[in-house]
């Protein structure tokens, strides 16, 4: 285990989070097609960063930086990491960022078809999952956990709860991404998708709420688990409020001309907070799998 690798992995995860914010700005500003070419913008790698090209080309610059960082991390892992599966995860991260870049280019060249744009947004979250996981896997607490926490077999398995919560959050992120790419700011949101996203918010609240309550009720004193659970609960609350605020700011200026800084900033914050809820739940899930030891009850047949 190398402290340097962990710090570098953390840097990549943070940069990826920043990249998600940059991407969200592109969508909210409707800047995805501010230039019709890719990878260059208006025929150059150094265009005048005015109008919405600031967001689109800025996103490309941040993406390039994340790509370079991911190459560095993958190589760093091959040199300093001993666990083969972590090394492989480094290559998977690199493949992910390359695929993500190509998807980004493809969606520009095809004039943002919904399927490709939604896939681009979805892969962004999957790549974020990988970078956050790498940061967890390379941490000291993961390599040499302070304790092993015992959980008796009674009740719902915390592992199951965490995995289900993670899957539901990811599905909700996909729904949100599809919703955002279905209509620009001056178009009506598709009702079915909007209702599905609201339903997803309820599902996430229920399942993540149940997970947090379970952690607190069983392992309140274990900071290793209780802390990410508390952060996830707080972020979830903020996220629900941001979701409502995003809808209200959009409805309050339905077809007004851009720029609409309030609507854009609230919506981007909603996307960013969604990514943070996802990241925190990833950390919680991985930690639960790492330290939770399930004690199986043994049953002995009573003598006849």
């Amino acid at each position: 285990m190398s402290k340097g690798v962990h710090r570098f992995a953390l840097l990549v995860a943070c940069a990826t989070f920043f990249l998600i914010i940059a991407g969200a700005n592109v969508t909210s500003h409707d800047a995805g097609l501010a230039t019709s070419d890719w990878p260059r913008s208006n025929g150059t790698f150094f265009p005048k960063m005015v109008g919405n090209l600031f967001w689109e080309h800025g996103h490309r610059i941040v993406a390039t930086a994340v790509g370079v960082l991911t190459i560095g991390l993958a190589v760093y892992l091959q040199v300093r990491e001993r666990r083969p599966w972590v090394k492989r995860l480094g290559w998977i991260a690199l493949s992910g960022v390359v695929a993500q870049g190509l998807l980004g280019g493809l969606t520009v060249k095809l004039n943002l078809p919904l399927a490709v744009s939604a896939a681009h947004a979805t892969l962004a979250q999957l790549f974020f999952l990988i970078t956050v996981s790498l940061a967890v896997f390379t941490s000291r607490n993961w390599v040499t956990p302070d304790s092993s926490i015992s959980e008796n077999g009674a009740g719902v398995s915390l592992r199951t709860l965490c995995v289900v919560a993670l899957a539901v959050i990811f599905t909700q992120l996909v729904l949100g991404a599809t919703l955002r790419h279905s209509a620009t700011w001056d178009q009506d949101l598709p009702k079915g998708l909007l209702l599905a996203h609201v339903g997803g918010a309820i599902a996430v609240t229920l399942i993540l709420g149940a997970t947090v309550v379970t952690v607190w009720s069983r392992h309140r004193t274990e900071k290793y688990l209780a802390r990410p659970a508390a952060i996830a609960a707080t972020l979830l609350l903020v996220q629900l409020l941001l979701g409502l605020a995003a809808y209200i700011t959009r409805a309050a200026s339905p077809y007004d001309p851009q720029p609409l800084p309030l609507m854009v900033s609230v919506t981007v914050a909603h996307v960013a907070c969604g990514a943070l809820v996802f990241a925190t739940t990833i950390v919680l899930t991985l930690r639960v799998f790492r330290v939770l030891r399930v004690d199986r009850q043994e049953y002995v047949l009573a003598p006849a």
Binding site: S36, L195, A251, P259
Partner: protein, 293 residues
Amino acid sequence: MFSKRARMWLGLIGALSLLSLASSCGPKPADDSGGGGDKNGKAYVSKGDEGSITGKVSYTGAAPEAKKIDTSADPACTSKSPNLMTEDWAVKDGKLANTYVYIKSGTLADGSKVGDWTFETPSTPATLDQNGCHYKPHVLGVMVNQPITITNSDPTTHNIHFTPKNNPDWNQSQPNGAASMTHKLAVAEVLVPVKCNQHPWMKSYVGVTKHPFFAVTGEDGSFTIKGVPPGKYTVVAWHEGGANGTEKTMEVTVAAKAPATADFSFGATALGQPSSLQMLPAIEFPMPMQMKH
């Protein structure tokens, strides 16, 4: 290479990604506006008895005020158009400009449908200019396959982006000083939004029909559709408003060599009523809604 558990996780992630892709695919709506008809129909030959449809489009009630657009994202726009205003409700003395009026369908005096005929596409291009970081004109009418010449008179780069439903999406960057570009729309569509993603406040609309029976109201709200064969027609006045515009419909009878009148009225009470398309947000919250300007 991967353990059984790792393969299971990768499979799950892949399945979810495919699910997201599948959920985002859907059929495109059809649009038969613009006269409909058979593209192999007979060529219309003037009989010399054509009339016209004239009228005025008015706006009842207090007209929504134009809003000042913040163009500071591009200094070239600010310097050329320091007081750029929204153009969607161009009302002057109760008359509404930028309304697209066209014959949607109808029957000629001889019993044939307007869509049974083909009409010669003008070879003269229509012009759409980007000037002062807004489009001139704001609303434009063309026939199918009529060339549209696109020019950039601004000292900045624009991208011209046609976002139709039935025609192919088209997006091209046009730097300042670049030569004009030409675009054609092959399928009738009322109306095709045009925007600049570089300067997202820039919007224009292009009506595409298979016949020449369309007009755009001027500043005084008036319009004239010339050369209309005698017959009974459904005339539509379309004005941007809401997500997909608002339209008013009227039955108009055109007599031989005579003008017919078709006056339309839009307004606060009309907003969102006989529109063919939804204008309200998808979920209604108990909150004050801001009217479109």
